[in-house]
Structures are given as structure tokens and as C-alpha cells.
């Protein structure tokens, strides 16, 4: 009689440890990459995810969109694009935001410029979220309407003629 009791106790311990293992596996899987590095490189190279302010204006006419400001709450309070929600960069993968990103409506990320927003886009895409865009140039291009029609990555525009400067043509 006593043996049966001990064996069932042991079985219970075994079962509990199994549950524990399954739980830890799932916790580990939560932030596993869903896209490989090679896939990410292809996706980045297409540049489909960069939108300019004109395209943003167009998207904001539709009823369904989520505009996400990834700067700090302090910056957000200071100034933000109307209708934007604030999710600071480091909190993007918080559980509270999961439903927002898995939603099918278009999502637009912006920051002070587009560098950090682009990093955020890469992480979210690696994580498997879709339909996310990045505002080219970020808030600075929103505030400077002359940048509206430019499609190349604003941050990557050469600010100088490097070769000419190094030859001494421009007398620096």
C-alpha cells in the first residue's frame, strides 16, 4: 500500500517537472527570431518599409492606422504628430503591446530621425510582426516639408562631396 503512495508521489513530481520544462521552453521561444538573418537582409534591401511624409499623410486619411512614437515619454509630451501613441524604444516588446503589433492594420514607427525607428522595425520584423513602416527622416522630416518628396533614405544622403574635399578642391 505504502509503495503505491510513494510511486504516485514520484509520478507527480515527474509530471510537475515536465510542466516546468515545457513552460521554460515556451518562455525561451517567445523572443526567438522568426526570420533568418538572410531573409532580413533581403527585406531590408528592398526598402519597402520606408515611407515619406506625403505617404504618411495619405495613410492617416484612412480610418485604421497606428502611428507609434518611439521616443521617450518626455520628448513625446513636448511634441508629437497628432494621433500618435507613445511606446518608448526599449518597451516595444512588452507584453502589453503584443495585441497592437499583431493587429492587421498598418503601423508606422517614427523617432527623432529614422535610425532608431529602423532598428525597431528590424527587431519587430525579426520577431514576426508584419505591416510595419518607418517614417523616412523621422520627426525632423515631418517638420520640414521640403523633404516630403524625397524617397532615398535621408540619413544616408551624403552631406558633402567627400572626394572633392579630400582633393582640396573646396579649400577646407
Amino acid at each position: 500500500m505504502k509503495h503505491i503512495y510513494i510511486i504516485s508521489l514520484g509520478g507527480l513530481i515527474l509530471l510537475m517537472s515536465m510542466f516546468f520544462i515545457v513552460a521554460t521552453i515556451q518562455a525561451n521561444n517567445k523572443y526567438r527570431f522568426k526570420k533568418s538573418a538572410a531573409e532580413m537582409l533581403d527585406e531590408v534591401s528592398t526598402r519597402h518599409h520606408f515611407i515619406n511624409t506625403a505617404e504618411l499623410n495619405e495613410m492617416m486619411k484612412a480610418s485604421e492606422y497606428v502611428l507609434i512614437d518611439i521616443r521617450t515619454p518626455g520628448d513625446f509630451v513636448g511634441f508629437h504628430i497628432e494621433g500618435a501613441v507613445n511606446i518608448p524604444f526599449e518597451r516595444l516588446l512588452d507584453e502589453a503591446n503584443e495585441s497592437l503589433f499583431s493587429n492587421s492594420s498598418p503601423k508606422i514607427l517614427y523617432g527623432k530621425n529614422s535610425i532608431l525607428a529602423n532598428s525597431a522595425w528590424m527587431v519587430l520584423t525579426q520577431y514576426g510582426y508584419e505591416n510595419i513602416s518607418v517614417l523616412n527622416g523621422g520627426l525632423s522630416s515631418w517638420q520640414e516639408p521640403q523633404n516630403q518628396e524625397k524617397k532615398p533614405i535621408l540619413d544616408e544622403q551624403a552631406a558633402y562631396d567627400y572626394a572633392a574635399i579630400m582633393k582640396g578642391d573646396q579649400g577646407i
Partner: protein
Amino acid sequence: MNTRIIFTIIVISLGSIAAILPKTKTSSTQLTADELLMEMKLQTYVVSTDELADLLISNDPAIMLIDVRDSVAYQQYHLPGAINIPLKDLLHPDWIPYVDQISKKNIFYSNGTTLSNEAWIVTKQLGFRNNYVLGGGLNEWFSSIISPERPASTDPNEIWALYETRKAASMYFSGSKPAAREDNSTILPPIPRKKKTRVQGGCS
């Protein structure tokens, strides 16, 4: 008798845990997405233009500059000693020994920080080490090092000291060209990181 049974059950349950665990263990170099997010926030992988100027002037042999722009932009101008790996070719088998290695400090750069940042994220995802990004890229390099802005006379001494260092660096890079470095630049492929290989042989 009872203690022996209890002992056996504990050993079996611990054993079964041990048998399952190694499969789920993540490699120490493989980051998860939220760790990646944190590292990006802390910006520990960003090298400033001042740091790079120091490294280049001291002729540090342990750095490798990698220009991730296209080959046209690279041929027009590139930093002294830099090699060209266009972003789209980053994971080409020919370039893997350069981006996945343990002997040098790789610094990715582009005109701004977008392309170099993307290159870093992709290599980081694969667990490659020793990769860094030039903060602000060539634009920052030219505005801070090659043609530094003269501070106002009322600025504190530290700002003037920084300006003087930068001006000296500027003369180094644009005046007397470091020709020796270019001539000696037979760029050897770096030592590839050791990969764990499976044990071969047996009776399979």
C-alpha cells in the same frame, strides 16, 4: 527500503529533466529579440568619429573598416584602409570570414548610420562578434574630424581642447596623406571563428 525507492524516483525525475534540457539550451552568442533591443538602446556597439580618428592615427592594426555602401560610392571615396562589402552582399560566403572572426575589431560605416546599423543587426542576429558601427557615418566624420567647426571664444576649455585635437586629426587625414598605410594594405583574410564540428566516423 522506502528511502531507496524515494531516492530512485528522485534520480529518475532529475535524470529525465537533464535528458530534455540540453535540447532547449540557447547558444551563448545567440541573442533573443529583447536582448537585441536592449543592446541597441545602450548603443555599446557605436564607435564615435573621435575614437576612430585616434585608432587610425595610432595605426591600430586590430581594426578593420568595412564600407557597406555600394561599390560606386566606395570608389569615389572611402576611409583609409577600408574594404568594401555592400550591404546586400554582407552574407555572401566570400565575405563571411571578414564579418565572422575573432582577430579584429570591425567597424561598419556608410554615409549616415542607417546602412551600417542594418549590417550590425544582421551580423548580431547570427551571433557574430567584434562588429561595431561608426556613429553618424561619413557625414559625421567630415563634419567633426575633417572640417571641425571652430568653437566660440567664450566656450569652455574642454571644447577648445577637443577642437584642437580634431583640427590636428584633420591635418593628418587631409594634409600629409598616410601613404604608407595604403601601400602596406595587403589585406589578409582574418582568422575565422572556430566552428564546433560534429564528431566524424563511427559505424553510420
